[in-house]
């Protein structure tokens, strides 16, 4: 039952040590988001965040998910700061009795973290000529409608 907003990297293995150990846990799902580079031009991503609001916004999202799917455990870590290609941006983990619950809760967390947690991504290119804020996608906003 952990939520963390941090600049440091995290280790999936250590984070999952002891995760979802209750006897009524039948399924755990993890999601890890990484800095992706499709073009070979990206140097790093700068993630800005709203300290304080991040924590309360994520706590609310997590509470909603835990109630809706009777999670036996959950974990959310989101980083901020300068993140190079291939590094981890964030992770969520969910534990539940059945697979559908664990999957749905993880997707719900991701959909809401994407559009309702105060983080903003800026992409900086290798030659330093481009530094652009990533625009929110309509599809990300639409994704919330399914819940």
């Amino acid at each position: 039952m952990k939520v963390s907003v941090q600049s440091e990297d995290f280790d999936l293995a250590s984070e999952l040590a002891g995760f979802g150990q209750a006897a009524n846990t039948g399924a755990t799902v993890t999601f890890t988001g990484l800095v992706r580079d499709d073009t070979g031009q990206l140097d790093y991503m700068e993630i800005e965040h709203y300290p304080g609001m991040c924590e309360t916004a994520i706590a609310k999202i997590v509470d909603d998910a835990a109630t809706r799917w009777a999670l036996t455990d959950f974990l959310v870590i989101h980083r901020y700061g300068k993140l190079h290609v291939g590094t981890q941006i964030m992770m969520v983990a969910t534990a539940a009795r059945h697979r559908a619950e664990a999957f749905e809760a993880a997707e719900y967390l991701m959909d809401y973290l994407k559009s309702r947690a105060p983080f903003w991504k800026k992409e900086v290119s290798k030659d330093g000529t481009k530094a652009e804020w990533v625009a929110a996608k309509d599809t990300d906003e639409d994704a919330l409608d399914r819940w």
Partner: protein, 82 residues
Amino acid sequence: MINVVYFAWVRERIGVPQEDIETSAETVMELVAELKSREERYDLAFSDLESLRVALDQELSDFDAPLAGVREVAFFPPMTGG
């Protein structure tokens, strides 16, 4: 006196991450109008409210919301977490 904070390109356009504003605005919209009338950088930052979000005391809100009792107003573009 109200603390106004800015993030992402809103912060870049306005040029400061936060500032204390002396205002008698009763709603977010009135505060926005007041800021826009002050200087061009505000006018630029607030030119398209559709592409802006507002939080009052760290909770998402909307532009019609009253400011009574609010200590911190934040303006930022749609979030891109995850």
